[in-house]
């Protein structure tokens, strides 16, 4: 029984933490620096740091809705309770203004703050540990160049025993592998760069790899698909659900713009990732695409032949759902063309509709896609309220039947309720 495993696991961790782990992972406080010891805002380093921060998606977790970027305070829901992201601006009291570069590097690599306290692994140091000194330096200089913002972060709200920080030490013994990545000489420089970014700062596995009961990524199922804020992060490995193969070019375009005409739009948390990657260098995005594309060894379709989207032309559907599709969806998801207005692709290309559970489909129907509205890009109106729950369910099942070869979903209603509880991602 899962519950028991968890309990045993926790007991084991607590023991480990108390006996060996604590001593092993104990770190002293590091000296605070004063304002005049702040690094010079070297332009080059600031720019590089900004690009790396974009790849690391740092601003997303460390910014509240509508708040100053990097000033922290955003609530990060975890299965163990809520963690509040720290303030990364150089404010001496509430931010990292007193952190030396060494302290910053230690946080990134070992998950320990300047005062020597254990940091929860919601901060993905299990990935960041792979970052090079030079990159950590650039990130540090970038963050220290920001205007300090005084913003006290609320205390985490974690359940016992997770609210006891030293327990993290045990977690680290089990799951943290501090090591840099050795380049694979058999692969291209671009692939190696991509791997470095994806496995390290990009921490793609944090969402796309399933996690165990203690919230650690399951190493033997790397990139087999995970969850992020209620959304399904699809598998990037051979189990990829894509209707057709992703090429490196397509991935690079998708990652930096949030959209590709043969695959569709990045939505949910991935929309933010894409928005951030739009700020990264083209070379790095391409490298990431190269590595990710290599994870799924899907058969290559004949080059240059755009695939034809699947359409089963299902018969015997209720006139209501057919009418709703024709009146609400088909204006954009125009089946005559690959791409309709609002950059809508044929649903035969949609990964969301092919996934084993309806969470992404339901969320996109309910909340739409608004992430790109300011600067232009894929858009979908929110249909929650326009359609009733019953209509959303039948519409989801209709597109599933019409545009995939997958079986009907179970319990769409539960997903709708869950999505509504979580609220709309702004």
């Amino acid at each position: 029984m899962r519950f028991r495993q968890v309990i045993f696991g926790i007991i084991a961790v607590v023991l480990l933490a108390v006996i060996g782990g604590y001593a092993w992972t104990w770190r002293p406080a590091l000296a605070a620096i004063s304002a005049n010891q702040k690094p010079a805002a070297d332009k080059q380093a600031v720019r590089l740091g900004a690009e790396l921060a974009a790849i690391g998606n740092c601003a997303d977790c460390h910014t509240t809705i509508g708040g100053t970027p990097y000033a922290g305070g955003r609530a990060i829901p975890t299965p163990f309770g809520t963690i509040y992201a720290s303030n990364l601006t150089p404010d001496p009291e509430t931010g990292i203004g007193t952190w030396s570069e060494e302290a910053f590097r230690r946080a990134m690599r070992d998950g320990v703050d300047r005062e020597g306290r254990q940091l929860y692994p919601a901060f993905p140091y299990d990935h960041f540990t792979k970052a090079t000194d030079a990159d950590i330096h650039a990130l540090y200089v970038f963050l220290m160049s920001k205007a300090p913002v005084k913003n006290s972060i609320p205390a985490n709200q974690l359940d016992f025993p997770f609210n006891y920080r030293p327990i993290v030490a045990g977690w680290k013994v089990l799951f943290l592998r501090e090591a840099s990545l050795e380049p694979d000489p058999g692969k291209s420089a671009e692939w190696n760069r991509g791997r470095y970014l994806v496995e390290g700062l990009g921490h793609c596995g944090a969402c796309h790899t399933p996690r165990n009961a203690l919230g650690a990524e399951r190493r033997n199922s790397a990139y087999a698909g995970g969850v992020a804020e209620g959304w399904n992060a699809p598998p990037l490995n051979a189990a990829s659900l894509a209707a057709h193969r992703w090429t490196v070019d397509q991935l690079a375009e998708y990652l930096s713009t949030g959209w590709h005409k043969l695959h569709g739009a990045a939505a949910g948390p991935m929309a933010d990732v894409a928005k951030n990657l739009g700020q990264a260098s083209d070379g790095d995005v391409r490298a990431i695409a190269t590595y990710i594309a290599s994870l799924s060894q899907q058969p290559r379709t004949a080059n240059n032949v755009p695939p034809t989207p699947r359409d089963n032309f299902v018969k015997n559907v209720s006139p209501e759902v057919a009418a709703i599709y024709a009146g609400a969806c088909a204006n954009c998801h125009n089946d005559r063309n690959d791409v309709g207005p609002s950059k809508a692709v044929s649903l035969g290309f949609s990964t969301a509709v092919r996934q084993a559970d309806p969470s992404n489909t339901v969320r996109v129907i309910m909340h739409g896609i608004h992430a790109y509205q300011t600067n232009g890009g894929p858009y979908m109106p929110a249909f929650d309220g326009i359609l009733t729950d019953r209509q959303i369910i039948s519409l989801a099942q209709y597109v599933r039947a019409r545009y995939t070869d997958q079986p009907e979903w179970t319990d769409v209603k539960k997903e709708i309720d869950k999505a509504r509880r979580e609220g709309v991602r702004p």
Partner: protein, 740 residues
């Protein structure tokens, strides 16, 4: 409801005489009208007749016939104000008929900020002529001297006795049969009672309660709904149509004429669906340049002629002389009009005559174009203006009119064509791409000794823009490029000793060009006013001060505008960029100034911006405008125009760019062609300079001219990065920041 919201020309025409004025019952539907539309009454429309512009009925109600139309600018109200004031009749007694080729004079298209300046002034002159004649007649009737007469509320009374005679009694229902006297005295500034007042607009209540009838709302009995199926590529030929692909949709008929493909249906949604679902095949066509190399393409386009727009001194020698040389290249993207309501028109052929209802800004031109397209005598075509969604130049209205006319001709029924969003974004004519090279020489004493500019812009002027339906169906149409008067404001008004500005007119441009609000003037002023800022930075002087220094000292109104701007915006004199900025989000302010077309409305502007140096995002937080357009007819209307100019142009400057591949435009909706939304709208502070004794000048465009440069200059002030390419998108901003 029976509030007198908007006088309706349909109701007017329902009467037996064109001069019977009625007010529409707001909310009443107008479908009944079209059938009984009588042949136009015998009324002159030539500009030399008073009756062309004015009629007064027995009850003293005044009808104004305007060739200029209200595109949402409020000129309908302004005309009523001007005429009521000139004639001394109550404002409520004046109604305005616009843009009906059978009833109203051809005062030229409604563009170029000329509605008041030319159109209104001409009508006012007609009113002055009429009034003089009425006074003359009254003097006879009342047997008193003309000087003894005074007009109140449309009644002429003698000061010496209590006799009165009303306009209605004098002329009611009859024609004046008078030549318009260009010298007839108009009122003195001090005597105006309505002019200069913020009179509420006549059309606003109906627009807010839903009672107002727009072109898009207008209906004709028995009409069909048409939708055009556009080629997927410019220049593609229609190779096959599978009519059976829409057979399941009731009442749909497929219409094909050459490469013009359309569907008509009696139910609008069925027409929409049929257009969406009709299967057709088209030949491949790749006629467009590579978007990434657009500016190379423009630079390499054949030049057919040079228009020298100013040539003072000897720039060749002055540029060769010793000094500090500056040069820069500016470019300005292709823009679409983007009215919120896509173009719409209804046409009907009856007894060999064509009637076309359209929101065209130039119904007289449309009439000529339709007559040409169908090879009909001009007299057999009547075009009637109905307000549409905002129109900022020659957009798709004329093309929708041609679509509907062609479909009406083929089907033999009245046909309404409502463009889709993709039709509007893809098929309205575009503001052409503009490329500008600038050079200057600065001597050691800090003087600007030479200014040279080359503007790479398509040939042509404001004329008749080719009709899409005519070209697709191989019918006659005008084919010359008509980008508008885009050479305007290429010359500069600053007093440099040597100036040469040349418009290098290009043989072609990637899309059918036309004028969009502030055509040419916006692009040209952007380059000029930014380059002037570059000079100020090079000389390390305050950019506002430099403008004052090179403004003609005799131009007191210009100097006053700049002086007031300095005060209004609390401008601190110092060179740009500002020093010692820290943090990611930095603030700056920039100035810009124009004397529109060198001869009219003065605008000075200051933009305040915030630039996020990490993302390259720009926010325009505040915008100050000082504006002198001479005599102000309606200050509220002028302010609304200024606000509209600022907001629309902030959008154009920061966000807008038509995108395309080798075949077709790819920015076909608001997702791919984003415009400004509420959270991004700046605060706007306006100061109007009223000059009651001066001529009224236009306000519909001039402010837009200074917006892009004010923003670019503010970004430079904040960051030291110079933005020379509109729109100022993230990538460009970041590149500029890196080289700053």
């Amino acid at each position: 409801m029976n509030a007198p919201f908007s006088p309706s020309r349909r109701d007017i025409l329902k009467g037996t005489s064109a001069l019977v004025v009625a007010f529409s019952l707001a909310g009443s539907r107008l479908e009944a009208f079209a059938q009984n539309a009588p042949a136009a009454a015998a009324k002159p429309v030539t500009p030399d007749q008073v009756d062309t512009f004015l009629a007064i009925d027995e009850k003293g109600a005044v009808t104004v016939y305007a060739g200029k139309v209200d595109l949402g600018t409020g000129v309908r109200t302004a005309f009523a104000q001007m005429i009521a004031d000139e004639l001394d009749v109550p404002f409520e007694k004046v109604s305005v008929i616009e843009g009906d080729t059978a009833l109203t004079p051809d005062q030229g298209p409604t563009y170029g900020s000329q509605s008041i300046q030319n159109g209104g002034v001409q009508i006012r002159q007609a009113a002055a002529t009429a009034k003089a004649a009425l006074l003359e007649e009254a003097a006879k009737r009342l047997n008193v001297a003309k000087e003894d007469l005074i007009v109140t509320n449309g009644a002429i009374g003698a000061r010496s006795s209590n006799q009165t005679v009303t306009y209605g009694e004098l002329i009611g229902g009859k024609q004046f049969m008078l030549k318009l006297d260009p010298a007839a005295p108009t009122k003195k500034a001090a005597d105006y009672k309505l002019v200069g007042k913020p009179i509420p607009r006549l059309d606003v209540p109906g627009k807010i309660t839903g009672a107002f009838t727009y072109m898009q709302d207008f209906r004709v009995p028995g009409m069909l709904h048409g939708r055009v199926v556009r080629p997927p590529a410019l220049g593609a030929k229609l190779t096959n149509v599978d009519e059976s692909s829409v057979k399941q949709i009731p009442g749909v008929k497929v219409v094909r004429e050459g490469d013009f493909l359309a569907v008509v249906a009696d139910n609008e949604w069925n027409a929409v669906r049929a257009a969406r679902e009709l299967k057709s095949s088209w030949s491949k066509s790749e006629t467009l340049p590579d978007e990434k190399k657009l500016w190379e393409h423009v630079r390499n386009t054949k030049i057919v002629k040079d228009d020298v727009t100013s040539n003072i001194g000897d720039t060749k020698a002055a540029m060769a002389a010793e000094g500090r040389k500056l040069s820069a290249t500016y470019d300005f993207a292709i823009h679409t009009h983007g009215s919120i309501g896509p173009s719409c028109a209804i046409s009907e052929f009856k007894d060999g005559k064509l009637t076309c209802w359209s929101a065209s800004q130039a119904t007289h031109n449309l009439r000529k174009q339709l007559a040409k397209m169908f090879s009909m005598p001009l007299d057999d075509v009547r075009c009637i203006y109905i307000d549409g969604s905002g129109c900022y130049g020659r957009n798709g209205h004329e093309d929708a009119a041609a679509d509907s006319a062609l479909l009406a001709k083929i089907t033999g029924k009245p046909v309404r064509v409502q463009w889709s969003r993709a039709d509007e974004h893809g098929w309205d004519p575009k503001g052409p791409p503009t490329l500008i090279d600038l050079r200057a020489n600065l001597d050691t004493a800090g003087q600007v000794t030479a200014w040279e500019a080359d503007f790479f812009i398509p040939q042509g002027a404001a004329g008749m823009v080719e009709l899409v339906a005519a070209s697709l169906s191989n019918m006659p149409t005008d084919t010359a490029l008509s980008p508008g008067g885009i050479v305007q404001d290429s010359a500069i008004g600053y007093k440099f000793p040597n100036i040469k500005t040349v418009c290098r007119r290009l043989e072609t441009t990637p899309f059918r060009p036309s004028w969009i609000r502030t055509p040419g003037r916006m692009q040209n002023t952007f380059a000029n006013e930014c380059f002037l800022d570059e000079i100020a930075a090079a000389l390390n002087v305050d950019p506002l001060e430099l403008r004052i220094k090179y403004t003609d000292p005799a131009d007191t109104r210009g100097l006053e505008t700049l002086k007031r701007l300095e005060k209004l915006s609390k401008w601190e004199r110092r060179p740009s960029p500002q020093k010692n900025v820290t943090g990611n989000v930095v603030k700056g302010r920039g100035v810009s100034y124009v004397k529109y077309e060198l001869v009219r409305t003065y605008v000075g502007a200051v933009a305040e911006v915030e630039v996020d140096r990490t993302t390259g995002d720009i926010r325009v937080t505040k915008f100050y405008v000082v504006h002198d357009c001479g005599q102000i007819i309606n200050p509220a209307g002028v302010e609304a125009q200024i606000e509209g100019n600022v907001i629309q142009t902030v959008s154009r400057t920061l966000k807008e760019e038509v995108t395309f591949d080798r075949s077709m435009i790819t920015s076909l909706d608001w997702a791919s062609y984003p415009i400004l939304r509420f959270p991004e709208v700046p605060e706007i502070v306006i100061e109007l300079i009223d000059q009651p004794a001066e001529k009224p000048w236009g306000a519909g465009e001039p402010t837009a001219a200074v917006v892009p440069s004010a923003i670019s200059n503010a970004v430079f002030d904040a960051t030291g990065a110079r933005l020379r390419s509109v729109p100022f998108k993230r990538d460009k901003v970041k590149t500029a920041l890196q080289s700053a």
